[in-house]
Homo-oligomer: 337 residues x 2
């Protein structure tokens, strides 16, 4: 008698989901009774830590994407958005098209690796006008914006307007923010060879961080080195500072509540370009799921399994250890393993 097939379903085509799929493919490579399926909203894995280099044009988009079908050769792959996770009936429904109802995939084991999305902390204007750094399109938009600002500034005769065009504000002093600030700064300085009316001192790249140091969670020595290196390259760093509004022309900042400074008054930084790299929040599908969450992340036990839903696992940015054994880690992909 043939054993019934065991169906493993992985949701999410980021580092966590793809790495998990590859490991399962290898582990079960000679076991025909195991069926592995991967669902991702893109058909490629994006190497997100190098997005800032795409924005600065050092590397080209195709160098940081790998087709899922070349990475996960033995799995069935669906390029689709997930509409619903039903852990009681053990199936996941994918978004349909006007022509077609959504596909329903039944599983025996489920791995949720849906990552996170940008958290604007309720600042609607900021969300509307700012750039982010999560997708390839984001990186290319930012790159186009930098060039556009240089082009406009080159023929701009009014000093005030020129300064606003050439001021670039990065919110968030984590890995993404610091890396992006550095890349933007280098790109702009290199570009000056072609813009004869723009001088080095006309350019302002500013990092704004709510905490009292950049790169929280990283080694203290590294933080100090990075901080002084950035400043040496002309980047301004404002610590204990938060952004409260941005209308596309002016960035409103104030000292954070935790700051020891007694001055809490608002300051205005005139700038057309604000990059938001300040925080992440889980995706909608997890927020509305039946799973127990903390700060929006699915709570898992030491086996990364979701309590009360045996056979359902959550990994990567979207999961969080049970508080009793939880420690603090920087939110990077190395830890997703």
């Amino acid at each position: 008698m043939m054993e019934p097939k065991k169906r493993i379903l992985i949701l999410g085509g980021g580092f966590a989901g793809v790495d998990c799929t590859k490991k399962l493919e290898k582990y079960f490579q000679n076991r025909d009774e195991i069926e592995i399926t991967l669902v991702s909203d893109d058909n490629f894995l994006l190497f997100t830590p190098m997005l800032p280099q795409v924005a600065s044009g050092i590397i080209t988009p195709r160098h940081i994407v790998v087709p899922l079908r070349t990475l996960c050769k033995k799995s069935r792959i669906y390029e689709s958005v997930i509409r619903d996770i039903d852990p009681v009936n053990k199936h996941v429904t994918l978004e349909g098209t006007p022509e077609k109802r959504g596909v329903r995939i039944h599983y025996d084991y489920l791995v949720i690796a849906l990552g996170s999305e940008t958290n604007f902390f309720g600042l609607q204007n900021v969300e509307k006008y700012s750039f982010t750094m999560k997708t390839l399109a984001d990186a290319l938009s930012l790159r186009n914006r930098l060039i556009d600002m240089l082009e406009q500034a080159e023929n701009e005769t009014r000093e005030e307007l020129k300064r606003r065009l050439l001021t670039f504000v990065i919110v968030g002093g984590g890995f993404a923010g610091v890396e992006t600030a550095g890349e933007i700064n280098d790109f702009l300085y290199d570009a000056l060879n072609y813009y004869h009316n723009i001088k080095r001192e006309d350019i302002n790249v500013i990092i704004i961080e709510a905490l009292s140091s950049i790169l929280p969670g990283f080694n203290k020595k590294l933080v100090e080195f990075a901080h002084s290196k950035l400043e040496k390259n002309g980047i301004k760093i404002l610590l204990d500072t938060i952004v409260s509004d941005f209308d596309g022309k002016n960035v409103i900042v104030k000292k954070s509540a935790k700051s020891t400074s007694t001055i809490k008054s608002k300051t205005i930084i005139p700038s057309y370009t604000l990059l938001w790299a300040a925080g992440v929040t889980p995706v909608e599908i997890i927020k509305k799921s039946v799973f127990k969450t903390m700060k929006g992340q699915v709570i898992v036990n030491e086996f990364l399994e979701i309590p009360n839903f045996l056979g359902v696992f959550a990994i990567g940015d979207c999961s969080r250890f049970d508080e009793s054994i939880n420690k603090s880690y920087p939110p990077t992909a190395q830890l997703a393993e």
Copy 2:
């Protein structure tokens, strides 16, 4: 006494405009009394004949763009859209921004090199749903569409829908159409390595040409060679055929009036993807200008000068010799010189 400066203004950053600017820079390199200004709506020259290769992913976008500022080092460059050409008062006005009124540039000599845009011959549905191949964004959209269709077809169980997903119609058998069809075809065949449920015979690439041969204006032997090569590679070629409608799902075609065939009835080709490479028309700014045009192109004399407007020249796709000395040439950049 110093001579007054002579101001030369070139409109258009395509092959014609950039080549003209470079030649003028070289010709007048030691003449400080000559001022050259180039206006382009992009800050790069796009090598349009290689857009199909970008669509197929053989080359990456940055390989077919060259920054104008590296090509034309001595000219003043404006990245802007032209709002108005006034050959009576000898000035050109550029589009402003909400912050700023449009710049006005005065000239002594004007060179118009504004190229052409896609002509849909009044077919509004076709314009709405079809892809074109004029800009980098066009090429990338088409590439994404090809991948998207493969992804959907891979997991599609209904044969009819699968065939529609995998049918790609290219309208226009000129250089752009033929090149694009070949690239699309190669790309799809190569991609099959990763899509195990799609077979070679599931894929349909079709060229539709209104005339009785592809590549009009080119050498007859080349045309025959190209025709049989395309068919050998699995591409279907429908001659004497025109597209009359496309709703995003079905392409309506009929035999052209010139066709010797007595059958004029409509045929439906089920396809989600139609690329329109069938014709060009001059840009809006020329259509509404005071210059005398024929089929929308500015009429010039043997010096490429516009009669009645001494010192104003038109070159490239947007110009046409006076009928009395006009001959037929294929509309390619080599001839723009």
